[in-house]
Amino acid sequence: MLAKINSFGLQGIEGYSVFVEIDINNGLPGMEIVGLPDKSTKESKERVHSAIKNSGYRLSPKRITVNLAPADMKKEGSHFDLPIALGILYATEQLQSDKLFDTVFVGELSLGGELGKVNGILPMIIAAKQLGLKRIVIPKANEGEASYIDGVSVYAFSSLRETVEFLTGDKEAEPIAVKDVQAAFCADRAKENLKYVKGQYQARRAMEIAAAGGHNMLMIGPPGGGKTMLAKCIPGILPKMSVDEALETTKIHSVAGELKEEGIVTERPFRSPHHTASRIALTGGGASAKPGEISLAHNGVLFLDELPEYSRSTLEILRQPLEDGRITVSRAARTVVYPSRFMLVASMNPCPCGNRGSTTQECTCTPAQITKYLSKISGPLLDRIDLHIEVNSVDYDELSSKTEGESSEAVKERVDKARAVQLKRFEDSGIYCNAQMSSNQINEFCKIDEETQQILKRAFIRLGLSARAYTRILKVARTIADLDGSAEIKSAHVAEALQYRSLDRSYWG
């Protein structure tokens, strides 16, 4: 008897329908899986074999052929175990059910017949919903991420036996309850709060601007100044994620197998890959074209600590994603596009020893060493970073003072307001914040009057600013004006923006 069971495969972060066909023939006993399975899928036969036996069913000594259709797409992952096992049970006439053919099955089997967790459940459920399928059976361990989609009945079971009993009607089961996405957002978890950051007024202000306008930011300062602490505060002042954003980010995390217990990403991710990370770890790829750090940081923050320590080739690949908000990963087997719209926050020391510019400690670097250190960051990359700020070392008095700074909540309120202004401004233009403005849009939205023009001109001559600073300053000034609630960019806004271009200053050269 031929069985044809519904299941799903993954292409990037999208699920696609796969039919698992099982046929039993006479011949030498054994199982053959066709349809371009990878190693983990191929090994399915051993797991299925034992799972069926240990769940109390028989496996007849015949030749079993499994086809994963469409047969010309690469299949990977262990989640085809469940549909294969059920198909075999049907084909060997141990299972009769009318539910079998209009239900989607995904799940990995252990040798004992238990259902185990798999990656990418959320995109599969979303795809099933889009295809109009009514029922889907998933492992119990994946319950969390499945509970935010309504319009499709999701059943979560913990073993093969339980699944079979549900299908035959021996056991009643209820689909898992749909949880309210909004409720998940309310559960605020403890994170770094700006009020515990001592001093660093300029850096705090720059962070506010960066969060409001979506600007990338580079912090320069000696070790121990609190650069990492500041960076960790950023998620707390970023505007809240929308439901669409949350689902988009959850999909990526689901595919990468990074989802936590609660099953949905409701807070903007904060990713900080170590500087030894390879290019593939950042962009995604590998044999199975998995998403990398920059995609996991989608809608959130990518924090690169000690920027010049990353290899130059690693940094250069950030250029395309920073521009387009997505990354195309091409491998022999497939080409996948992952979204990667993140805010880049980076930090670095002023020189290899870290004491340059300090009044208390002596810098031991030679000019050549400093030049070499600074030159690791290429112009094109710097071009994409709007704010460069210096974070100074903190002295004991400041550290020990009891006064708290402004809290993240208060800052966030202003950020939200400024974002709302931007969303309205860019309503139909396909961008969301000031940082993403094209040069045309800069001309349109960043008009400055004659007086301000003069200030900019003087700034270029006196401060030794480089040409690339011009548009950056205008963009940042636009955000400052938005924070100020001002429709026009005033000279005060531009003047403030001048303070956030440290690396363009001639004294850095």
Partner: protein
């Protein structure tokens, strides 16, 4: 051969160091006598095998002429001691070079010169002194410096931009790659080493005597206890030149050398005007820069900073403004040329 000059060139070109060369000429009476007397055991013993065999191979008027032609074709001038153009200041030092190889504007040797040198491993402080002071010195003097990184390079850059520059090399003149910033400058390259000589460590110490030799005074910007700049100072002192040293922090390892120089009697230079004054150079009274009109807060900042640099946080707290208002204010003051931003969020009054 009858030309004394060719004989002198032959001796120098073979790699005879200046002290031995001077001694030979003294003993024999002239270089020509050495040339004529040449292959003797005594000379071999005196000069060493390497130089001796080099001299033996080139001891032939045709070879010498060819070498001179080649130098001429490359635009190198060979200046022999005794030539009226030979700088007089060099004649009264220990071991004056018998031959100078020159490339560039040789007229610079006749001008008033001052040497600016210092450590390779300079700090931002040293860099600033080298850059800013040299720019001012270059208005009155031709600046003599080396080609090492650090202070020498910053001084050279500044001089190349503002005036004229003599760069004294510790290698053959053809072995030096002229950096971009020197290409358009009013420049003279000077070397006492024959064409094609590679740099060796001892040459730096040897060359350092020419800094003082060519100049009226020597300014040591920054030097640790072991810096080669101290050798320059020592030579200059022996040559009777004024040695200026820029005092540095007593905690800074890289100013330890200059501070010790001052302790030992070098003149502490605290401004370019000090140097001009000590060397008897007329400086026009500088125009008194009048402070621009300051608004209330600007005035407060000005007074706050008059005791030294302050951090952004301190200024903000002092004024009681929000950080964005402070940023705007400081930007405007920067553009007005009243203050400047420094590293690590420090702000300071701009030197008037």
């Amino acid at each position: 051969m009858t030309d004394e000059r060719k004989a002198l060139f032959w001796l120098s070109n073979g790699g005879t160091p200046s002290d031995k060369l001077n001694k030979l000429v003294e003993i024999y009476g002239s270089a020509l006598e050495v040339f004529n007397d040449f292959p003797t055991e005594k000379l071999k013993k005196f000069l060493g095998d390497r130089i001796y065999s080099a001299l033996r191979l080139t001891r032939d008027e045709k070879t010498i002429d060819e070498k001179l032609m080649k130098l001429k074709a490359d635009g190198i001038r060979v200046l022999l001691r005794g030539n009226p153009d030979y700088p007089e200041s060099l004649t009264n030092i220990d071991e004056p070079p018998a031959v100078l190889y020159l490339k560039g504007n040789a007229e610079l040797l006749k001008r008033k010169c001052i040497a600016v040198v210092g450590t390779r491993r300079c700090t931002d402080y040293g860099k600033r002194v080298a850059t800013e002071w040299t720019a001012e010195l270059a208005e009155k003097f031709t600046v003599v410096t080396g080609h090492a990184t650090g202070i020498d390079t910053y001084a050279a850059k500044s001089a190349a931009e503002k005036g004229s520059l003599i760069c004294v090399l510790a290698c053959g003149i053809d072995m030096f790659t002229v950096p971009d910033f020197m290409r358009k400058a009013d420049l003279l390259l000077v070397s006492e080493y024959p064409y094609g000589t590679h740099t060796e460590k001892f040459m730096y110490a040897e060359r350092n005597r020419l800094f003082g030799g060519l100049s009226e005074a020597v300014l040591i910007v920054e030097a640790s206890r072991k810096s080669g700049a101290l050798i320059t100072a020592e030579w200059a002192c022996r040559q009777g030149r004024t040695v200026f040293a820029v005092p540095g922090s007593v905690f800074s390892e890289r100013s330890a050398g200059v501070n010790e120089l001052i302790r030992n009697g070098a003149t502490a230079a605290t401004s370019v005007d000090d140097i001009f004054f000590d060397l008897g150079v007329d400086t026009k009274a500088k125009e008194q820069s009048t402070l621009p009109e300051l608004t209330g807060n600007e005035k407060k900042v000005y007074e706050f900073l008059s005791n030294g640099q302050r951090r952004f946080d301190e200024i903000t707290d002092f004024l009681g403004l929000s950080p964005n208002e402070t940023s705007t204010l400081l930007s405007m003051m920067e553009l007005g040329g009243i203050i400047e931003k420094k590293m690590q969020n420090y702000y300071a009054l701009l030197r008037s």
